[in-house]
């Protein structure tokens, strides 16, 4: 948990002062993956993992689609 929160904080730094747009997008993807892990681990700490795993599943689908669509928007037509 501590490692994941530290990772998310440092990726926030990469997200806000990244040199290019692509660095910001990459940091956003890493934050998405870490947040999915954090939701599932919090569910196991809360002794009812079923509900939190459903939330993490929805967030995983949204993160996957959002990253691909934004990369297509940034990269131009022929991608």
């Amino acid at each position: 948990m501590v490692v994941l929160v530290m990772t998310i904080g440092l990726m926030m730094q990469r997200l806000f002062q990244g040199p290019t747009v692509f660095d910001r997008m990459n940091g956003l993807g890493v934050i998405t993956a870490d947040t999915i892990l954090l939701i599932v681990l919090f569910g196991f700490l809360d002794k009812q993992p079923g509900m939190y795993v459903d939330l993490a599943m929805a967030y995983a689908m949204m993160g996957c689609l959002g990253s691909v669509v934004l990369a297509k928007y940034l990269g131009g037509k022929k991608l």
């Binding site: 490692v3 990469r14 599932v40 599943m57 990369a71 990269g75």
Partner: protein, 135 residues
Amino acid sequence: MIFGFSIQEIIACLLMGAGLIFLIGSMVGMLRLPDYYSRVHASGNSETLGTLLVFLGLIVYNGYSNVSAKIFIVALFVFLGNPIGSHILAKAAYRTGHPVWTQKQAVQHELSTEPTSSVTTAEEKEAQAHADLHN
């Protein structure tokens, strides 16, 4: 039972520890590497492996149940989405002409950040001495 923990818990703890080591490696690579492409390499590979190892540890810890199947589906989504996102971002950066970091640039960067000020000051001192002699 070893030290009060079952074998299942020990295997789960080892898998999650290995996953966290990979996550820390990915974070250090993202913050320290010099180029966008090397950064996307660090995040794309070790982030996916660390996430999958932590999910596998959670599956082993939870046992054979309904929640384990859901965690497996989440891990499948991460395994599909994260490398595809990294690949398509790197491809978009290459298509739009993002500069690639090479060894030449590294040598030039090191030469430019070396203490060149002392050399210039020595040359300036010599030039000033010559000027004084000629005057």
